[in-house]
């Protein structure tokens, strides 16, 4: 009798009981994993001997955190996800999605009012309360601002997705100007805003765009031709060192050396690509990884030329096509030519547009190549190599062009990197960089340029923002450095995004060739990386 009359509260009880049990297991597992590595810390004492420091409190916090997260996951998130998929039996409609519920107009209005109050009367409120509370108020204000911006995006989502390309290029083009304007308004003076925008343009904009460009370059090799390359950073290094060495030795201009660096990297792409053509899949991956490491080790050990791990410094800056430059001591310095105050920001903004142009060039070439026979051959090769060969496609030259063109863009990005840093050392070209670039390509949904740009912004921008989170120091104490957690969170984010969306952020693609109508193809129907 009781079986047939199971009420919703009975169901709830069982869900909670299961959640409790699962969270208990998760706690045991977390304890087992962390008891030695978090509970105990090896530390040097004054006599430089290793001793053990006990941290049971921290261990308890971490384990409790894991248990709570697991409980919430089983008790609330999973049933919610299940409900999202189920169609309402009465109305036949899907239930409100999380995003539409989260971005109701009512919520937006409340948040907007709170943010406005905090901005308008911020000074008065901050003076009235304790400085610690101020931190939290700033945090609330920032979160609120992000919510409002996200709400605007959500409200116009149909429009945005329709005009994604135009809008995103416009947004990237006006980004530094917007930075300067907004920060000038906040700082109250133009020069103050210009100085403050340096951080946002340089650390954030340029950094993200370098990775966007690298990922688009690698996308040609991995996403289009399906050749799994774990040593892409080698070509980046070749480009950077080409510019660094030729620029410092002969004083040649960036504009001559940019194509030279690209050609050099492409040449290395062919040299490294040629012997590995017969390899497939994971073997190819591991050999490219080995080549990447070999190039790095040669850079470290060939001290006569590369100056070893000390690196090369004093790399010349990029000039504005020779018309004026960004070198303070030169008579053609931009501030002297235009009679404006000196600032490092001009160079950064110029670099921003330079890397934007290079990245867009990569994207444009990729899009055009996909329509050419060679691009179609790449995609055909990715899908089925044997069929390709039997249709008379020369797989050797097809693979080599993919390697060479991908490497060329890596070389461009490398020479830009050298010009931006003014310093290169083998430290910048470790395997981790290759892994990050590959992760961006895969997480973006291989082959999709928009998805890759989004994933570069999320992964690189997200970890860069972590550097800016000084308010965390107020919460966790002054010893807390958010930067330390950057790569830990990056690794975990790679895992979580992959589990959540195995096909990447954009899981479908538009075919370049089609029979009657253009339909997007789900990512699940394409093969990747078995080349």
């Amino acid at each position: 009798m009781s079986v047939s009359t199971s009420t919703s509260s009975g169901l709830d009880d069982s869900v909670h009981r299961r959640a409790l049990r699962e969270s208990f297991y998760a706690g045991i597992i977390a304890f087992g994993l962390f008891v030695l590595l978090i509970g105990l810390k090896t530390d040097q004492n004054i006599r430089n001997e290793l001793i053990i420091v006990q941290r049971w409190g921290l261990l308890a916090i971490v384990v409790a955190l894991v248990m709570v997260v697991r409980y919430l996951m089983v008790a609330y998130v999973r049933p919610f996800m299940a409900r999202q998929k189920a169609v309402d039996a009465r109305t036949g409609a899907l239930p409100d999605s999380l995003s539409t519920r989260f971005f109701r107009e009512r919520n937006a209005a409340i948040v907007a009012v709170v943010v406005a109050i905090l901005y308008l009367f911020g000074g008065a409120i901050f003076e009235a309360v304790h400085p610690r509370v101020t931190t939290y108020l700033t945090l609330i204000r920032t979160c609120g601002l992000i919510y409002v911006i996200a709400w605007v995006f959500h409200y116009f989502r149909a429009f945005i997705s329709r005009n994604f390309t135009v809008l995103s290029i416009t947004a990237m083009a006006v980004y530094p100007i917007l930075c300067v304007i907004i920060l000038s308004l906040l700082a109250g003076s133009l020069m103050g805003g210009v100085q403050a925008s340096l951080k946002w343009v340089d650390n954030f904009g340029i950094q993200v765009l370098i990775y966007v460009m690298l990922a688009w370059g690698l996308n040609i090799v991995v996403g289009l031709a399906g050749l799994l390359d774990l040593g892409y950073v080698a070509f980046y290094a070749v480009g950077a060192y080409s510019y660094a060495l030729l620029g410092t030795e002969f004083g040649w201009s960036f504009w001559i050396l940019l194509p030279a660096a690209g050609a050099m990297a492409a040449l290395w792409g062919v040299i490294l690509g040629f012997p590995v053509l017969r390899l497939r899949g994971d073997y190819l991956a591991i050999v490219t990884l080995a080549f990447g490491e070999i190039i790095r080790l040669v850079l470290i050990n060939w001290r006569e030329v590369t100056n070893g791990s000390a690196g090369i410094s004093g790399i010349p800056k990029v000039t504005f096509f020779g018309l004026f430059n960004f070198d303070v001591s030169s008579p053609d310095y931009i501030a002297k030519v235009f009679d404006i105050p000196q600032s490092g920001v001009y160079y950064k903004i110029f670099l921003y547009y330079l890397i934007l142009a290079l990245a867009l060039l990569t994207a444009w070439v990729t899009i055009r190549l996909r329509q050419l026979p060679v691009g179609r051959a790449w995609e055909a090769l990715r899908e089925d190599e044997i069929a390709c060969r039997s249709l008379g496609i020369n797989t050797t030259s097809t693979k080599l062009t993919a390697f060479a063109i991908g490497a060329m863009f890596g070389g461009f990005a490398g020479s830009f990197f050298a010009a931006r840093q003014g310093f290169v050392s083998p430290e910048s070209f470790i395997f981790l960089e290759s892994a990050i670039i590959l992760a961006i390509v895969v997480l973006g949904g291989m082959g999709s340029l928009g998805g890759i740009a989004v994933s570069a912004m999320v992964m690189i921008g997200g970890t860069e923002i972590l550097r800016q989170m000084d308010f965390l120091k107020e919460i966790f104490g002054q010893d807390f450095t958010p930067e330390l957690y950057r790569m830990l969170l990056f690794g975990l984010a790679m895992v979580i995004v992959m589990l959540w969306k195995p096909r990447g952020f954009v899981g479908s693609r538009e075919p370049t060739a089609f029979l009657h109508e253009r339909k997007s193809v789900s990512g699940s129907f394409t093969k990747e990386g078995h080349g």
């Binding site: 597992i29 087992g32 994993l33 030695l36 590595l37 105990l40 810390k41 090896t42 530390d43 040097q44 001997e49 290793l50 001793i51 053990i52 799994l228 012997p275 590995v276 017969r278 390899l279 994971d282 073997y283 991956a285 591991i286 050999v287 990884l289 080995a290 080549f291 490491e293 070999i294 080790l297 040669v298 470290i300 050990n301 044997i386 395997f431 981790l432 892994a435 590959l438 992760a439 895969v442 997480l443 291989m446 330390l484 957690y485 830990l488 990056f490 690794g491 975990l492 984010a493 790679m494 895992v495 992959m498 589990l499 195995p502 096909r503 699940s524 093969k527 990747e528 990386g529 078995h530």
Partner: protein
């Protein structure tokens, strides 16, 4: 000649460590066809756990037989890394098993980054040196063999025998080999495939932990980034020997160890890693299935 034999012994020691790590790579690759990129970091975690256990033992007991201390370190490290690898497989690889081929590779790279940075965050970024545990050196006809080297080779040889027995003579080993050949058919015949894969990960991790403990004892220092280079070299060893083949992994490990120590002795120590990686590339180009591997059959 004596110099050569000396290098041979050094190479054997190094090769034993690589071989132990390589078995983990090759078994996982054989059974589910993925490169477990986090395996090198599992090895590093094993070394760190051994370090922590060593420090606990020192602070609890003033003097203790070295053999016993090593045994305890090894067992605890094996337990801990097994637990890590089991959890990682469950969280990061199992949900993606039916997915496309690159997906588990990406989560493996993510886990590798996360593990090494986790150890950096929790244990600090500095080198962790320990006082030498075993320092006796024997001189035989102009060749010096340290007790450390003997321990490493003996432990490795013992483990390999145990391991050979496990894989070739027990029901578990049969299940593993069956899963390797055809997972679907094995499942139809009543083998718990998930469990077998879990156990494979645990076995690989346990061997990596032993390698980590021996590494700590041999070099007397460990740092959070130590997982990468030995990991890549061990993978090189696995590929060199023919991936999927367990004797091949050991053979490849020994070869890499010999190449590295000979290169450092006769050419230049700077380029020893370059030599190891170049050998990998050359072998793969001319002998794509490795020394003992089965040639891959292309299916249409």
């Amino acid at each position: 000649m004596e110099y050569f034999v000396q290098q041979l012994i050094n190479g054997l020691t190094l090769g034993s460590i690589y071989g132990l790590i390589a078995i983990g790579y090759t078994m996982v690759y054989g059974i589910i066809g993925m490169i477990n990129f986090a395996h090198g970091d599992i090895f590093m975690v094993g070394a760190f756990v051994a370090l922590i256990v060593f420090l606990i033992l020192i602070s609890l007991f003033y003097s203790m037989p070295v053999a016993l201390a090593l045994l305890i370190m090894m067992v605890v490290a094996m337990l801990a890394t097994s637990f890590y690898n089991w959890t990682i497989e469950k969280i990061a690889y199992r949900p993606l098993r039916g997915s496309f081929r690159l997906a588990p590779l990406i989560t493996a790279i993510g886990m590798s980054i996360a593990l090494s940075n986790f150890v950096q965050v929790t244990q600090g970024p500095r080198n962790k040196p320990i006082p030498p545990m075993v320092s006796r050196v024997y001189e035989i006809g102009g060749i010096s063999i340290s007790l450390k080297q003997i321990i490493i080779v003996v432990v490795t040889a013992t483990l390999l025998v145990v391991f050979w027995y496990l894989v070739n003579k027990t029901a578990l080993g049969r299940a593993q080999r069956a899963c390797e050949q055809d997972r679907k058919m094995a499942a139809l015949l009543g083998i718990d495939v998930d469990r077998t894969i879990s156990i494979t990960f645990i076995m690989g991790a346990a061997l990596a932990a032993v390698a980590g403990t021996l590494f700590l004892m041999y070099y007397g220092v460990v740092v959070f980034s130590d997982g990468f280079v030995p990991g890549v070299k061990a993978f090189t060893a696995a590929v060199l020997g023919g991936i999927g083949s367990i004797p091949g992994a050991v053979l490849g490990g020994l070869l890499i160890g010999f190449i590295e120590s000979m290169w450092s002795a006769y050419f230049s120590i700077d380029y020893k890693d370059v030599a190891a990686f170049s050998i990998l590339a050359i072998v793969l180009i001319f002998l794509p299935s490795g020394i003992l591997g089965r040639p891959e059959v292309e299916k249409v």
